[in-house]
Symmetry: C2
Subunit: 347 residues, 2 copies
């Protein structure tokens, strides 16, 4: 089937580029002896996770238990969940997951570590726990190497837990200093894994002597955010949203059939809500829920009503989470339609 | 079951408030003889659409054919689709819908009207088409009463089509002038419906003598956007996202387990990404995909890790579209869990 036979708006993945993106990062990390543990939050599709693992990834990263459950159901058997897991229900689900797959998680506080310890003891399991470190990302994480070492030693002491190393996001320039400052306080406790992450910084992974594993998500697809970072180019960007011009109300304004419920409102300081491949000078200056508002005034030729336009969105992770399926193509030929199986798995 | 038994993040609807919101707008529009045609894009749940219709709505409004198909499958039988429908596949689906329900659509160009006419003729149907008017919303729509009247007459002339009136969004202050200027050019063609919309302006509907029907969506739930407009109050807001504090990395920072994949990145010029009912002084200053970053520095008491917080999001329509289900409660008792049946129906 030709892509032209499918109606818009449509999330489209170029399979040749997807495979090349997966291979390229794997080769780079292999060359530098860094384990590849891609983040599936970008695609949320078991088939793509399997492509990553078959190429050489040591396992995958998930952000929520629900995502990990979907991936475990699809046979993925080495999962890192770098999230503070709290509460009886989530801990029960976590232990069920730990019985099925090689699971590791993170903690950034003693409260979280003690909860994990209680659950693991009750389940008769040993759970691997890394310490999440805030190295500038200002999200979760302990605030200093001293705190990291203290929590690491506490984890090592707690029954049912195994201290697995350090995790941070995104990998900071000064990772090595942070790791060494932590190690010096560990009193001989081994630092098995130092897990960094991010697509923007992925090609700098080799500059960190202490990094043992890298987690990248967006590298498989690419978007305007990763284009801005330089980690991806227009020629390697594998993800787009196919849209149709549904209105040309004025000589310069065009309206597309994809709004914030397709393209998301993520901006990250970018100008506009997407890049229109066929009209690089066009500007998606606003989104309604089901319409994109486009200014074509800078374009010599303007589109007709009914014309189909390819939009590279700002943030592929947010966009793929809005679609029920993505369409995999080679050139114009539709090869596969993947349900976004872990879409909406926020718990 | 008590709401405390359910894990977070959770989209929650207060059923007493939902029912009151539905009743309040219906009573107001009834009092002023304006037909109520609520927009289901907010909730995307057939059971809520049925509550609206049973209370007196003449029918519902959907934004995409996929939404309308879900609602028709649930027995809703009067649907307005104020969207330019283009292309063979969508027109086929539209005709299938027109065979099942009392359907009306819009057009803002002759291209769209001719497509609808061809499809209706082939299907042996007469389709009611309203002219979409851009009265300041700067989205789709003809640009003047003269253009509106010209397209109306064209629709009336095209085989298979019935001219149904005028549609705009949001209802402008000067609606009556626009409608009268259009009517004066219609050469006797009757203006059966004048359909306006919006929750922010809903309580002004009675000030427009020409308005025959109002489409509001967000009024059922409410959010920070409708709070800002004054159309809804904190006491009538029926929708929230229940979250858990998963990290307290610094004395003032707190991290919640709901990010942009729960709360959406919609800002609309608002400060922050949600209102925390238990900590009104707190500020959700950033979102990652699965984390909310909160500044609690202005709050006298700060939350503990594991504490559950109620967030009123910026934009309920975007948020309900991110969840697979919403939980309906009376007080703390869970009465129903509704799948968001039309979620992701973007085509």
């Amino acid at each position: 089937m030709d892509i032209d036979c499918l109606d818009t708006p449509l999330a489209v993945v170029d399979l040749d580029r997807l495979e090349a993106n997966i291979a390229r990062l794997q080769a780079y990390l292999d060359e530098h002896g860094i384990a590849n543990r891609p983040h599936i939050k970008t695609h949320k599709i078991p088939a793509i996770a399997w492509m990553q693992v078959r190429r050489g990834a040591v396992g995958i990263t998930c952000q929520k238990i629900g995502e990990a459950e979907v991936m475990a159901d699809a046979g993925l058997n080495d999962i890192f969940l770098p999230y503070n897991i709290l509460g009886e229900q989530k801990l029960d689900r976590l232990m069920n997951l730990a019985r099925r797959v090689n699971l590791s998680v993170t903690a950034d506080s003693e409260v979280v570590a003690r909860g994990l310890s209680r659950a693991a003891q009750q389940a008769g399991l040993t759970l691997t726990v890394l310490v999440e470190c805030d190295t500038g990302g200002q999200r979760c994480g302990v605030q200093s190497p001293a705190e990291a070492a203290a929590l690491a030693r506490r984890i090592a002491d707690l029954p049912g837990l195994h201290f697995g190393g350090l995790m941070t996001y995104p990998t900071p320039d000064a990772l090595d200093d942070y790791v060494r400052a932590t190690r010096s306080r560990l009193r001989g406790l081994p630092l098995e894994r130092v897990s960094g992450g991010g697509t923007a910084c992925m090609w700098q992974a080799h500059t960190h002597a202490e990094l043992t594993e890298h987690r990248a998500g967006m590298y498989v697809y690419g978007d305007r955010l990763t284009l801005r970072s330089g980690a991806v180019t227009l020629e390697t960007c594998a993800f787009s949203v196919l849209t149709t011009v549904v209105s040309r109300p004025t000589p310069t304004r065009g309206i597309l059939d994809a709004g914030s419920k397709c393209l998301s409102s993520d901006l990250f300081g970018l100008e506009g809500y997407g890049y229109i491949c066929e009209y690089p000078q066009a500007r998606i200056y606003a989104l309604s829920e089901e319409h994109a508002h486009v200014d074509f005034s800078a374009c010599e030729r303007k589109p007709e009503i009914g014309e189909r336009l390819t939009v590279i969105p700002n943030h592929c992770c947010a966009v793929s989470n809005l679609f029920n399926e993505v369409v995999g193509v080679r050139g114009k030929r539709v090869e596969v339609i993947w349900p976004v199986a872990a879409r909406g798995m926020v718990r």
